[in-house]
Symmetry: C2
Subunit: 396 residues, 2 copies
């Protein structure tokens, strides 16, 4: 790199010029994937500048943010970040807890390590939710393969065995139909794990919410999600056919979670709708794929909302602007021109190389009428068109 080409001015050395400007908040983001990238794009208009920590040489955040190419558990990280960031946050929840505790001793971390620790461990998470009086699928701990049979006898079969930590997008899971399969499934997974019974839900919903530094909570509308192969494919926002009572119960539920954590930032709760009841499937202590529609479909995007919350700024309006549908681009890219030619298509590419099952981008459509959303999806190029129409038609 020629010295003639200067990279973004470093936030590490506040100049007198910087102090004349509006008070800039430098936000360190642990993780530099697409969520970090979208946070980094949301910050500058508010005077917030992101610095992403990611061991990859060219993570998605690298176009738009300062990039510290380190692992979160790199022993030099605290001193590297010292004086360079005003606070730290996360864009992933699977993080080494001891490293976070080291960082917490030197930096303001929001949300707290406790929330990340609990949400990143399926046993702690489900126990936490049950202790709050919230409904979850039946579950039991498996600390060694020979505990698997007893665990599945407790939850009932069919069941899913899941690793306690590090699972995402359907990874680290084994589905079994009979208790006799429990032991082998546990052997093939890394223990510690849990067994989870099935919940007969009518649909998958989620709610994204934020809690500010002063304790104020703002909730986005409930959305409906369609997963295939354990990966989110499509989100409809707001979910159709949501009574004000259902929305109120979802908000009460997520508020209880936020308050129990004394949480600061955006959280997502994945829910199962079972008759009149809401079961909590899992929590994400961060911005969430089922909230990407908020960039165009809500008055405040979840990325701006998270930054507002952790920086101690007032929260923004989470109200929806019309009806939205978000379609994920999984595993393979799509013809950019064909997508952009669709009226009102909002394309978001993450600058990631294609790989099966990998999230490479998403497309959001916003309209006044839900019928328009389906018509827009029908203009997508194949094979995304057929798959997304089927996903859309699977929603209520």
């Amino acid at each position: 790199m020629s010295s003639d080409v200067s990279k973004p001015t470093s936030p590490t050395s506040p100049s007198s010029k910087a102090t004349e400007r509006s008070s800039v908040v430098r936000v360190g983001v642990l993780g530099g994937g697409q969520l970090g990238r979208m946070l980094a794009l949301a910050g500058p208009p508010l005077g917030l500048r992101c610095v992403c920590v990611d061991p990859d040489v060219a993570p998605p955040c690298a176009w738009v943010a300062e990039h510290v190419q380190r692992s979160v558990d790199d022993p030099d990280l605290p001193s590297l970040l010292d004086g360079r960031v005003d606070l730290l946050t996360y864009e992933v929840e699977h993080l080494p807890i001891e490293a976070l505790r080291r960082l917490e001793r030197r930096f303001v971390l929001r949300p707290s390590v406790r929330a990340v620790e609990i949400a990143g461990d399926r046993l702690l998470e489900k126990t936490f939710l049950r202790d709050l009086g919230l409904r979850t699928a039946p579950f039991a701990a498996i600390d060694a393969p020979d505990e698997a049979r007893a665990a599945v006898e407790q939850t009932g079969a069919p069941a899913i065995l899941k690793t306690r930590r590090w699972g995402y997008d359907g990874k680290g899971q084994r589905r079994i139909t009979h208790v006799d399969e429990a032991h082998d499934a546990a052997v093939s997974l890394a223990v510690p794990a849990i067994a989870e019974g099935f919940v007969r839900f009518s649909r998958e919903l989620s709610i994204v919410a934020a809690r500010g530094l002063g304790g104020d909570v703002r909730c986005y509308p409930l959305v409906e999600n369609v997963h295939r192969e354990g990966i989110l494919r499509l989100t409809r926002a707001p979910a159709s056919d949501v009574s004000s009572s259902l929305q109120a119960r979802a908000e009460a539920l997520v508020t209880r979670i936020l308050e129990a954590f004394d949480y600061v930032g955006v959280i997502a709760a994945e829910l199962f709708e079972v008759g009149d009841e809401l079961f909590v499937n899992e929590l994400a202590p961060r911005v969430h794929n089922s909230g990407h529609w908020t960039i165009e479909g809500a008055h405040t995007s979840q990325f701006e909302q998270h930054l507002r919350a952790i920086a101690g700024l007032p929260l923004g309006s989470p109200a929806a602007r019309g009806a939205s549908v978000m379609v994920n681009l999984i595993g393979e890219l799509v013809d950019r021109d064909a997508v952009l030619a669709i009226e009102g298509a909002h394309l978001h590419l993450y600058d990631k190389a294609p790989r099966p099952g990998r999230k490479l981008g998403h497309i959001t459509f916003v309209a006044d009428e839900v019928s328009v959303l389906r018509a827009r999806i029908a203009q997508l190029p194949e094979p995304l068109r057929s798959a997304s129409l089927a996903d859309f038609d699977a929603t209520r």
Copy 2:
């Protein structure tokens, strides 16, 4: 800068990894102010990456884009950019034309140098418009101070003397009430200049439009602008009380301009409404302050639209989403918390140090009803509140 902290990966050396990704277009932007910054924020979701050229050490673009710290007329610039950008565009129109011609020999420049040359020179611009059959204020060239009297006799007094080039935000202008003041005003200005007669307009409007590589034109709705001291203060979008015939005439007018230039990109035409007629005040061959409302208030922002156009991508929908008002932050910053506490406030700071008359940021409100917009402005902190309410009430 420690070598442990890696800056955004350079777009200068396309790696094999990059080629596996979606086709990234590297856009060089001449100028790195707030317009360059907002272009750089709009590009990444589409797979477009901006590199800004600006002689300042820390221009507004530097947070979010690669920054080449050079003047546009730096003789080394072409070789510095070689292999680093796929095409060039502008965020300012006052540029040294000879330097642009040098760049044009080595790079794709969009829009063309001719459009920039004409729009950057008040005499060439007004002559171009008149030759297209469009209405402008009466004008006459002043190549030396002793031509000033004859020029003002031609345009009539009162009049404004303006330098032909380099003027912006009311700079480089002298207002005179009588022809006897013409000579002294011309002496105090740099010649070459022009004299411009007054147009008795009922309101100031503007239209932002884009022309794609294939010649397709998309026009945003007409907006109404309020200037004070030559600086845009407030934009209402869409302008109220615009008949479909008025919108159609504005679109025909700007389309004629776009086609005459064989233009590619976004252009703005500032207009005077005079009875049933539209006079063209001036052109900006770039994204424009009166189009900032499009970020939240239209289906496609002017920044995304410009990038789509110059990259040869399909243009997006310019339709408005509800009613918007944009308020500029001029000269002094505003209490960030007080603004963000207003429901639906969209704050955009440019990371510029306060200075009288300087554009430091803007605030956009979007609502379904115009009455809500006024109520939101009324929540702004003073003195912005009173000034902006008066500006809003001055619109139709």
